[in-house]
Amino acid sequence: MEPTDASNPQFYHRIVECQWACPAHTDVPEYIRLIAQGEYAQAYMLNRKTNVFPGILGRTCDRPCEPACRRTRVDGKSVAICRLKRVAADAKGAIASMLPSIPKEKNGKRIACVGAGPASLALANDLMPLGYEVTIFEAGAMPGGLMRSNIPAFRLPVEVLDDEIASIVDMGVDVRYASPIESLRSLLGEGFDAIFIGSGAPKGKDMELEGRSGDAATNIHIGIEWLQSVAFGHVTGIGGRVLVIGVGNTAMDCCRTALRIGGADVKVMARRPRRFFKASEWELEDAEEEGVEIVVNHAPSRFVTEGGKLVGVDFDILEWDEGARVSTKVGSAHFPCDDVILAVGQENAFSWVERDLGVDFDEWGMLIADPVTHQTTLPGVFVGGDAAWGPKNIVTAVAHAHAAAISINNFCEGVPVEERPEDGMTLSSQKMGLTQWSYYNDYNSSPRQAMEHVALAQRLSDLGLEVEVGFDSDQAAREVQRCLNCDVEPIFKANLCIECDACIDICPVQCLTIVQNEDDEGVLRSKLNAPTRNPNEPLYVSGPLPQTGQVMVQDEDLCVHCGLCAERCPTGAWNMEKFELNLAYLAMSKSRRKS
């Protein structure tokens, strides 16, 4: 095989799986190390640089980082990254002085954002330090979008939300509340230099079944609208028997909210088997712990009413094939209930975008936009968050905002939006002495730290009481030690190797092999010391070694970054170097600020 080209930042970025999986590419290993060291403010700021809302995401993130975490390859349980993020946010103290400074003199460019949700706020956070004037038009009375209306307070306290949004709004963002945009044409006429659509996917999907219309409709609720009504205090109660239809995270929020405002017998009704649920495993667990029953393989067929009042729902009982694609009806069942909450998905609503402006839509009524630049078919109009390609999650909205910020900055400067700045990287040696590293290199066998929850009776009696207590500093430090330091890379210099085998012998997971090179990757893999477990993990293959012409091969899949290869290397051919990804949009703000 050809020697691996490790000069592309994405090679090492891919090894830091948590960072790679994170849509915003947060430097997870470094910030959790800072947490273990008690440097909470620094950890918070490192997070904020990329994901903008560490306190909010520390409680609500979909955590794409955790399934990706390499620790799962060793003992099956990922590092509790998300909960560690919350520790940094909870204990950060005063950070106002560390926030980016906002130039008094503006650059004369005005940007309009539609909707004050995470996408627009994150965009403002990127553009305000560069001197842009950002105006956000919000239909409601408060900022935050679905973060406020759709995530119940028992998962995300209002103070946390207010605090992190304020840090952006206080940069001088002009937020106009109660100002729904009803026409893109008129917004275009207001002379903004660019427009960003961050209006989310605000419409909950309905379910047209027999009995849906009529008087019973008052007891059939659309999930996200109902959550919103609860969040703003318009709804304060629900019937004793509640059926929640749908198994996404919104369904979990609905069932747990129902339990807190009057629901006693709450069931979540699923069409498909559990392993095909959209909800995160931990949210399912939390709901079940609170007494929610999850019923699988039941598809609603009819809302049953008596005298105009909802009395229950009929279901078809289904059997599924292996991939849960094709179902067969094997029976039917009736579930009595007082209320039904439909949490079967969300839709975008672009009725305010005139169809003759040059902004094109696809056959499903979605805006057509470039997945990299986020520009719609009308130059100068950009889209991000759930408004772009349908409902995803908060951290994806933030990532969209970063990408759109680069485009908007280009657009306003007359640079083609396709001209993207490239990510860079820094590799810094961690060697402090003969066998000393500036990171804690030992493997820690501790199991994942358990999260303490507030007692069941207490939490169900108070809608605003946060369920997870959070890690204390000792728990956090222990949990951080489980991190395998995937950002500290063993870096190999083939020209220094004398093939003494010291690294091969000491490697605790046998991930290194010195072997005659092969053209075929499969043949090379068959000759490695440890059998390949993950064929998708690219091999590192060195250039020919000076004494025999063999090559050093590393199967990164198993590496625990203990640095023993480098400690045992007599010639310094191995060294442990910390990889830092220099994200393009961060570089953009630096260069802009200097000029």
């Binding site: 060793v74 066998t435 030992d442 003494c500 010291a502 023993l564 007599p570």
Partner: protein
């Protein structure tokens, strides 16, 4: 030294051997030898060999003398028995241990100083007695522990780290052992475990004294230009004409050599040493040929490696001394110590 111990990582993919142990179960304490020391690779090769032979660690007796090499037993098979003797006295300790308990597997680890200088007198007699053991010499040509003086195996002309050349003729442990009647003589290189592991496995199965001379570079004091025992020099001058493999009993498929080869030597438990390519007219069962081959190579400045000689026919220490079939510990006290009357009768026999 390393900052941490080699971490125990519970990998489900780590294969187990016939007795359910993984290769990690044959490791010992962390090495405190210099980074890059050849001896650590010898340790790794031993760990691998014992694992692959599925030897229960408690059946192993590991012994050594003094020197860098003699730290090796600490670094493998922490579940084994061990004895660290005074300088150069590993061989008689091993002979005694082997005489007393023939059911154990005896492994002696020594160095060129321990075996060819202070302990040379003991080594030669252990060879003559055909003590049933694996005797490894980790041979680096210098006294590393005392900072790099020439040892008895340093070649004439080989230079020390500061430049002076050795002028005294070396002892070649291979020729020494062959001339004394050793029944298994091999040489390996710590930088080539693909060859060393099968050699060690064959040696462990050999019925008698198995001497394995392993060129094991001292990365600190003898790995420079001018040394004849550096990684680079050995790779440049290694003579790998003798190709062999160890075939475990009943498992033809486990062999590395692709085809039959000309000579097969069967070991007592059914394992075989199968020779592949050999120099012309070379027979590894012919002591004279082996001695001639080793001497010729030495004259040319070449380092022949492989199983150079093997003889499964000569009687070992137990046959020579008619020791009981069982280890002494399993004999009843009356048999071991039959009393004054028996002694008197025995002595009468000499009158």
């Amino acid at each position: 030294m390393t900052s941490i111990s080699k971490p125990r990582i519970p990998l489900a993919t780590l294969p187990a051997n016939e007795i359910g142990l993984t290769v990690r179960d044959y490791e010992g304490a962390m090495s405190t030898l210099c980074a890059g020391c050849g001896h650590d690779s010898v340790t790794a090769a031993l760990v691998r060999s014992l694992f692959e032979l599925s030897i229960p660690p408690h059946r192993i007796v590991k012994m050594s003398g003094i020197g860098c090499s003699s730290k090796t037993p600490t670094y493998f098979a922490s579940g084994a028995h061990g004895f660290n003797s005074v300088h150069g006295r590993m061989a008689p300790i091993a002979a005694g241990a082997n005489a007393a308990n023939r059911s154990s597997i005896h492994i002696g680890i020594s160095g060129d100083g321990d075996s060819l200088s202070i302990g040379a007198g003991h080594l030669v007699h252990a060879i003559r007695r055909n003590v049933r053991m694996l005797y490894v010499i980790e041979n680096n040509g210098v006294y590393g522990l005392t900072k790099g003086q020439f040892s008895a195996s340093a070649d004439v002309g080989s230079t020390a780290k500061h430049g002076e050349a050795n002028e005294v003729a070396p002892i070649d442990p291979v020729q020494l052992a062959l001339s004394l009647g050793a029944t298994f003589v091999a040489r390996g290189f710590s930088g080539d475990k693909a060859q060393l592991v099968p050699i060690l496995k064959a040696a462990l199965e050999h019925r008698g004294f198995a001497l394995v001379d392993v060129i094991s570079p001292c990365v600190q004091f003898n790995n420079h230009v001018g040394s004849t025992k550096s990684y680079h020099y050995v790779r440049d001058h290694e003579l790998k004409e003798i190709e062999q493999d160890f075939v475990p009993p009943m498992r033809e498929t486990a062999a590395r050599l692709p085809h039959g080869g000309t000579i097969v030597v069967t070991l007592p438990d059914g394992g075989r040493i199968r020779f592949g390519t050999l120099p012309e007219e070379y027979d590894p069962r012919d002591r004279g040929a082996a001695l001639h081959y080793a001497a010729q190579a030495q004259q040319r400045g070449e380092i022949p490696t492989g199983v150079l000689f093997v003889d499964e026919g000569t009687r070992d220490i137990h046959e020579l001394n008619s020791t009981p079939d069982e280890p002494l510990i399993s004999l009843p006290f009356e048999a071991l110590c039959p009393g004054a009357d028996a002694l008197a009768r025995f002595q009468d026999g000499f009158q």
